[in-house]
């Protein structure tokens, strides 16, 4: 019995010291990690929002829009040139062959795609990873597209009767990306006024829109 208690105390003491170490390291690194995440986000946004389009701090000019079907709220980053909104950027995700594919979309106020980039995926190397801008220019095929261009049935790979190239050997991955981009454009169309509302009354516009939908 005494031995058992000793063991329990020993393990408890160990667990406590481990917790102290973890809490201190977390506390020490939290700021730096937040900063890195910010830099990553900025780097991905600048890829879909051409730098000549804006002169503001993208990360400082945001509105949040409630996600579809009770999904998580979407943070929309807005590009402005001398105060006028020239584009918005936000994240969407799709489900690929190897798990979720996270994308960032850049859309101009008229609803045309300024660019699409994959920011995280776990698709098969050599097949599905062709969606990555570092591995191929397939993803550039979305630039300049909009909801009606191609028409809705064209938002598919050629094999399925659509307009977009397939990736040799991969079917599920491009399908997932095309669907995610299309849904992102629909999301923009549905929340356009909230996304493009002037910074000061962005909240009001979102509320107005919510009222209108209700």
């Amino acid at each position: 019995m005494v031995k058992l208690l000793q063991a329990a105390w020993g393990l408890g003491a160990f667990a406590c010291s481990a917790a102290v170490v973890l809490v201190s390291v977390d506390w020490l690194t939290a700021d730096a990690i937040r900063q890195r995440a910010r830099e990553d986000l900025e780097a991905s946004l600048t890829q879909v929002l051409p730098s000549q389009l804006y002169d503001n701090d993208l990360l400082a000019d945001t509105v949040t829009v409630p996600g579809d079907d009770g999904g998580p709220t979407v943070t929309v980053y807005r590009a402005r040139a001398s105060g006028r909104i020239t584009g918005v950027g936000f994240q969407v995700s799709g489900t690929g062959y190897g798990g979720p594919i996270r994308l960032v979309l850049g859309i101009d106020p008229g609803g045309r795609l300024l660019g699409v980039r994959v920011i995280a995926h776990s698709e098969t190397p050599g097949l599905g990873d062709g969606i990555d801008a570092a591995k191929g220019d397939w993803i550039a095929g979305f630039t300049g597209r909009a909801l009606g261009d191609p028409p809705l049935e064209g938002w598919a790979v050629r094999k399925d009767g659509g307009t977009f190239d397939q990736l040799s050997g991969a079917t599920i991955t491009p399908r997932a990306v095309i669907a995610a981009v299309r849904d992102g454009l629909r999301f923009f169309a549905a929340h356009r006024s909230a996304m493009l509302a002037p910074a000061a009354d962005a909240g009001t516009a979102a509320a107005l829109e919510a009222g209108k939908e209700a």
């Binding site: 031995k3 000793q6 063991a7 020993g10 393990l11 160990f14 667990a15 481990a18 170490v21 973890l22 390291v25 977390d26 020490l28 690194t29 730096a32 990690i33 890195r36 830099e39 990553d40 776990s122 098969t124 190397p125 050599g126 097949l127 050997g169």
Partner: protein
């Protein structure tokens, strides 16, 4: 228990070759299969494991008289899990480029049985310096194995060697990146999981062959003369 030079030599030889984590003990095959689609990934995972293994061996050897025998395994697991989390947080904060490449694999180190294996079978029974040597030898042995498997798979699968090494190690290492066979589409299967097993199988066979040849040469060692050696 002072480690003599010959002991140290055994530790180093075991870690690098005779009891090599992958090719000798067949341990840690899960991370091995997962990351070795390029030599660069293998190198990154190997080095990250080396860091955790060194920290874990040092802590376990240092605490070996403090940890009650009955609870040593949970205590080791706690030490390893804490270390891995610390490494993950620190890399995310200050080695962010490396973290973006290896981030997925770092949590895998927690379940790498090589680390718990060395804690239980070596570090908990030896002095801190001996445990350090063991960790370095095992860690570098593991790294070498991962790099070799990664190089074979990358060469056959994509025709390159150390692709993206500059992204992992910094621009100074761009010289490592070689396109060995230009315009070679590669044998895709080598990059996929089955290729990992194929490469591992052939490399294991190769090591056995070398070991057997070495053993054959060692047996008649006292009588070996240059002439006898040539008869082989």
């Amino acid at each position: 228990m002072a480690a003599s030079t010959s002991d140290l030599r055994t530790i180093v030889g075991d870690g690098l070759w005779h009891r090599n984590a992958v090719f000798g003990q067949m341990l840690s095959l899960c991370p091995t299969m997962a990351v070795t689609n390029t030599a660069t990934n293998g190198l990154g995972m190997g080095l990250a494991t080396l860091v955790v293994l060194t920290g874990s061996n040092l802590l376990v050897a240092g605490l070996r008289r403090t940890i009650p025998t009955d609870i040593r395994i949970p205590a080791f697991v706690l030490v390893i899990a804490t270390l891995v989390t610390v490494v993950e947080l620190v890399m995310n904060a200050w080695l962010h480029e490396l973290f973006k490449v290896l981030g997925l694999f770092i949590p895998l180190i927690v379940v790498n049985c090589l680390i718990l294996g060395r804690a239980e079978s070596f570090a908990s029974r030896h002095t801190v310096p001996a445990a350090l040597v063991d960790a370095l030898a095992m860690g570098f042995g593991f790294t070498a194995a991962l790099v070799v498997i990664g190089a074979v798979r990358e060469l056959l699968g994509s025709g390159t060697l150390f692709a993206d090494a500059a992204r992992l190690l910094g621009p100074g290492f761009a010289f490592l990146e070689v396109e060995v066979i230009p315009d070679f589409a590669g044998v895709l299967v080598m990059v996929l999981p089955p290729g990992g097993f194929l490469a591992l199988g052939f490399l294991l066979a190769g090591k056995r062959l070398l070991d057997r040849r070495a053993a054959r040469r060692r047996v008649p060692a006292p009588m070996v003369t240059p002439a006898a050696g040539a008869a082989e």
